[in-house]
Amino acid sequence: MTSHVIEVENVDLKYVIRHGRATTLKEAAISAIKGINLDITVSALTDISFTVDRGEVLAIIGHNGAGKSSLLKLIARVLPPTSGVVKVNGSVAPMLELGAGFNPELSGEENLLLFGVLLGNRTKEMQSRIKDIAEWAGLTEHIKLPLRTYSTGMVARLGFAVATFQRSDVLIVDEILGVGDTEFQKKSKERMGQLIAGGEATILVSHDLKTVESLATKVLWLDHGKQIMLGGTAEVLDAYRKA
């Protein structure tokens, strides 16, 4: 058994884009008969390798389309790698786009319950935790109301709260540290600090280099799906800024 919490070895991810037109059976059948292949294979990630240990914070930086989100999905088990190996030694709490997966018709409470159970908690466990989560997110008064009545900031707060109230070994954070007002931002950074200190391995995606500088212990720089640089925060950010 390895001591690394996350181990990514020579990972490639290829995916197929269907040509815009072949979205119906009819067209697929016609192109099959004519022998036209409308599928285009794209490499989202090429030969990525890194490890993350307990208490480490890996920040992934790079331009849009560099493959950051795809890499997070590989670690969250949502996508399988085309080749190479992804090993995660522990449970994962994903925070990919806060509030994604919430149902606007259900109340805040019902969403918390459903999402928590979706992440692998028992129903009873979640029920006892709902009050605390709502209180922390400052949504105690709204928790019985349907989610469609919430503001964007409120939904994001709820999403942040449910993911961080989760006891897990790996925390995945995608571009979300800018949610809510200044007070909530402060609160969420504090919470992140606690989780990292508590031994969670964290993977962070952010365009905000200041956030990266203050939180990350190491940085992975991606460009067009390729690993440009992996190393200490200062070192990689320095090179990234010069590029």
């Binding site: 059976l25 009819k26 999905k73 949502v78 090993k87 030694n89 994604a100 319950l113 908690n121």
Partner: protein, 274 residues
């Protein structure tokens, strides 16, 4: 929950799936409850509606066939419970199949963010429809007594029909969900096939009135066997042959296994494609 993930590990798919479904029992329960709550909370009559809806349907069908077409069943049994049994079972099949299929297609948003086996959604949808079917049985009970017929001592064996129907609908929905995700027009085609299947099942006609070639087509439709067995065990109307029993169990098992295998191969490609 086993918390070690190794993308290169070779695991036994079926074993892993069974463990996963058991691990996710809370999620399935929650999804079923939500499904039922949405269905019954939003209607004024609530739970009563499950009773009234099939009663009214069978009343309409009874008027059309018995009063207008003067239909009679050869063995002298009553038309109303005969047709209601058919309607209930076909509704169960249609809704479990369609909702399970759509649950996966519409769950893509969540499935691309959080690691959950998509099967969980299909199981939950099918199970919640089996609950509806069971509630509908009370309506069938009422109609059966109204026409002075009794129910059979074998009625509890209806459970077997329900289990087989779950296997059949879940297996089918796993295959179809891949089509739904990839091709926009597949819904229309599936709708037509379902309609054809409805008319090729002896829901409101007895099999004896059919000509030999049509009767053959109807009898190779697995749903005919499910329906024959359901009518036989519930109220001892209709005949269920050994062939029907074998056909019901084997079609359910084969379709479920096939669905799981096909889904496994196609899912990885579909989820990457989006």
């Amino acid at each position: 929950m086993p918390n070690i993930y190794d993308s290169s590990a070779r695991t036994n798919y079926f074993k892993e799936l069974t463990t996963n479904l058991w691990d996710q029992r809370d999620l399935i329960t929650l999804l079923v409850k939500r499904d039922l709550a949405v269905r019954y909370k939003r209607s004024v009559l609530g739970l009563l509606w499950t009773l009234i809806n099939p009663l009214l349907t069978s009343l309409v069908l009874w008027m059309v066939f018995v009063q207008i077409f003067r239909a009679k069943l050869a063995d002298g049994s009553q038309f109303a419970p005969y047709v209601l049994a058919g309607v209930l079972l076909m509704t169960f099949f249609n809704q479990a199949f369609m909702q399970a299929t759509e649950s996966i297609a519409s769950g893509m948003g969540i499935l691309q963010k959080v690691y959950v086996r998509p099967h969980v959604f299909a199981f939950a949808s099918a199970i919640s429809n089996s609950v509806n079917f069971i509630l509908g049985l009370f309506a069938l009970l009422v109609v059966t007594f109204l026409v002075d017929e009794g129910i059979s001592l074998l009625a509890p064996l209806t459970v077997l029909v329900i289990f087989c129907m779950l296997g059949l609908t879940i297996g089918l929905s796993l295959m179809t969900s891949i089509l739904f995700i990839r091709f926009d027009d597949s819904k229309n085609i599936v709708a037509i096939v379902l309609q054809l299947l409805f008319y090729l099942t002896p829901v409101f006609y007895p099999k004896d009135i059919l000509s030999a070639p049509i009767r053959f087509i109807v009898s190779i439709n697995p749903l005919s066997s499910y329906l024959d067995i359901f009518r036989f065990v519930f109220a001892d109307t209709g005949k269920a042959t050994l062939f029907d029993w074998v056909y019901m169990f084997s079609s359910s098992t084969i379709v479920l296994v096939l669905g799981l295998v096909i889904f496994k191969r196609a899912w990885a490609k579909s989820v990457v494609m989006m």
